[in-house]
């Protein structure tokens, strides 16, 4: 491999590693991310740009722009192609198609570059002009940039923390789900999920056709704790409809209905139908 194909070697290497990362365990996801980012956003477009402009010298910013733009365009077209296949848009199919495209383009450009002598370009950070810049200014600039980056990261972390600790009114979910058939008749499921900010004590009262059926006098739930129970509904002797109602009272306001739900069962003898 000639030296002036080192970029293609890097691209092909990325493609091979990208294919390999599919078989990594989930705990290695950071490696997967580091390989996926260039393969989705840069490498396929870079190799295509190299083909399209193999006889021209492209400015660095233009090469970056075309690599990014063409990679995104290739992703979209590859996605449409994958949609036609039974496997569809899955991790394995993506890895194979993006790596395949990259390797194919790399081979084409190696063929096109044969016989072309690479132009000598000064390496980044070197050159006559760079020598004229005082090192102290470069160091100062580097420190300022690093400090700015640290500030940006701090701003992001602070925001994430402020969102997580955002003051919000607590609330409690109460539900009563439609009945299911059991050997004893119908059973409806009642549930509570506390999203309150502090532990709360509840009183839960269930009535069937306005007659108390169950009561849970002191139900203490911590924040984010769930409570669920089944309420058996016996077949009604005379009424066509059986009405089940559940009311919840908070311990600190025992006379005010905090939450209420109700379900009406149509003829429990015939089956359980809300």
């Amino acid at each position: 491999m000639r030296l002036h194909n080192s970029d293609l070697l890097l691209a092909t290497g990325s493609a091979v590693l990208y294919t390999g990362c599919t078989f990594l365990p989930a705990s290695m996801s950071l490696v997967g991310l580091l390989l996926a980012l260039p393969m989705v956003f840069f490498v396929p477009g870079y190799t295509l740009t190299a083909i399209l402009a193999h006889k021209r010298t492209l400015d660095g910013s233009h090469r970056l722009l075309l690599s990014l733009g063409l990679s995104l365009a290739l992703d979209i077209l590859c996605g449409c192609f994958l949609n036609l296949l039974p496997i569809g848009l899955r991790a394995l199919s993506w890895v194979l198609v993006l790596s395949g495209v990259t390797v194919l383009f790399a081979l084409i450009i190696i063929y096109l570059r044969r016989g072309i002598v690479p132009a000598r370009t000064p390496a980044a950070g070197m050159g006559n002009g760079a020598d004229a810049i005082p090192v102290a200014r470069i160091v100062r600039g580097s420190i300022l940039s690093a400090f700015a980056l640290a500030l940006i990261i701090c701003a992001l972390l602070y925001t994430v923390q402020s969102v997580a600790q955002q003051p919000a009114n607590g609330f409690t979910q109460l539900w009563l789900l439609p009945p299911t058939q059991t050997t004893q008749g119908c059973t409806v499921r009642v549930g509570l999920h506390s999203f309150e900010t502090t532990p709360v004590t509840y009183r839960v009262l269930a009535t069937i056709n306005d007659v108390q059926a169950n009561m849970w006098p002191t139900l203490a739930l911590a924040p984010n704790q769930v409570w669920e129970q089944g309420i058996a509904v016996p077949p009604a002797a005379t009424a066509k409809y059986t009405s089940i109602q559940v009311k919840v009272f908070r311990g600190d306001k025992p006379n005010i209905v905090y939450r209420k739900v109700n379900v009406t069962i149509l003829d429990a003898k015939q089956g359980c139908r809300a």
Partner: protein, 678 residues
Amino acid sequence: MNITPSHSVHSMVHGVFRVLPRPMQSPLRRLATRGGDVGAEKEYTGVYEGVGTLLASWFPALTLTCALGLCVTAYAFADARGGGSGLNTLFLPALLVMFTPIALRLLIPTTSRIERISLLCMLGCVCYLVKVLSSPLHFSFFDEFLHWRTLDDINQSGHLFAQNSLLPVSPYYPGLEIVTNALGTTSGLDSFHASLVVVGAARVLMVLALFAMNEQLLKSARAASLATLLYMINPHFLLFDAQYAYESLALPLATCMLFALSPHQVVSVRLTRLEPLVPLLKFSRERRHGLTTDLRWITFTAWLILVAVIFTHHVTDFFFDALLIIWAIVYAAKRLMPLYRSHLVRIAVVGVLVSCVSIARAGNPVVGYLSSFMSEAVTELGHILSGSGSAKQLFVNYSGPPTPLWERIMTVSSVGIITLCLPLGLLCLWKRYRSNALACTFGFFCLFYPVVQAFRLTNTGAEVADRAAAFLFIPLALVLAIFIVQFWPTTRLHWGQLTLITAAMSLVFLGGIILGVGPASALLPGPYEAIADARSIDPQGIQTALWSDAYLHPANRVASDRINQVLLGTYGKQRVVTTIQDTIDLSPVFLSPHLTDEDRSLLQQGRIRYLVADTRLTHALPLLGFYYEMSEMGAFHHKTPIDPQAFTKFDDTPQVNRVFDSGAIIIYDVEGLANASA
């Protein structure tokens, strides 16, 4: 004497000057003279431009000011989340800290090209981070939920084009979701974080593409950087085009296509001039081969990106198709090349054909979607112009106090400055760049800017003016940059002028942000507000939707208000019945004080299983002017919140089960009602 078009325009311009008052004639004559000055822009390019130059320049210091601005923004958002007033006092100054020093630095002629590119990329990214800071943990903008649903369907099924009742047109334009799927599935990132990375990459692409395209046209890094900076003052740059929506990716791609096409005229004109020499000189044959290869390269790149745009966003596709057609017409009118040989015409034709195929795909509702919206807006505007309808009151806030006076002044000044500078910029463009077909095409598209502002007087079309800005600012920014560069040439530039231009740009930037952010900063963090998009997304709504997924199971047909619709459709994975997909307006079911036969009939038609009622809507007016649909009774004219009886009626209705209660949000099972009706 042979009168050429340029002569006639020249004499027309001077004719107009003679009609104007005498004090205005002098500066305009000076502008007309300076407008054509080819030496207005003196380039100060260094011998070497690299990382060392960048680190030794003002770039690190300006990065630091941006970082400080971002820190202040983070604090303002945190304060607003806690109910404080930090947003009102700190947000706009923080943005000024980011924008103004960079604007000044870009105006200075000696700034190097690499510093300009780096500063622009940094400003673009920092503006994007402002949006990320507004909601760093989950989607919060309304449109983001619509696209998240499409992405979720692709992730689940592995295939495209599943139905999305929240935005039926979205699955037919899945470009953004495809890229997010590629990154998410192969990297292990979840949908939200993958979307942040994709939109961030799109933002970098947009800045680079704008700069490169403008540089190709204007042949000046300074002018190109000013044009790119001026694009950033459009009302949708800060937040709307930073959200997870198809335009955020399609627009950068389309701009990248324009960059690829921008050398087209130079290459094809050189090729045409070379043709007579080809039989005579061997060198000409080689040169022709090189130019032909370049043209093929340009055409292939443009086709590839154009097809990607067609799969990404309909309006961007149509806009750029129109731009290509107009460009081809201008190109033909300038007799640069016969139409049948023009690569530009081929690209435009392929673009239009593929767009037509895309539109004609079975089930693609894009024509109905766009035409219903546009016809409604145009009809409303027609009624206003004919006097049969009343114009929308500008700066109205449907749910609170009116927009403060200073905000009104800034907004009007922003639009006013642009509108005033536009004709001057067009004059400079004509004097200096009229030989370039793309520049002339841009000039033509700029004329639409004042026209679309008229839609701000309508309720349904007000969004048109905002949404058009993202597209119209591409040519507009170029024209305004030409005006700045030609009117204040680098050789005569002094600090007073630099300060004046920076101040004007900062004013327009802030005015654009106030316009884009909307009434009462609806897109920014703050306490809960009713029907206020990002401000209405709260834990209770999200937990209700998650509960529906866990306990009711997915794909039930549900009806709800604007906010709970998107939560139920995404977190809840329910099949939300919407006007846009099902052509049933269920708002009367929620708004009428009694359940009428018509309401029962609507529930039956919609085969509704669950109704989700948010009782907070009975305490507050909707910030956006409507609760359920723009077409609901009293939309944009609600004076009182919804009558509580409108929701309690369900408790008194037999065969309606109240299955869920979380205090503010109640879910009713109305299957019995629908069956009884059937």
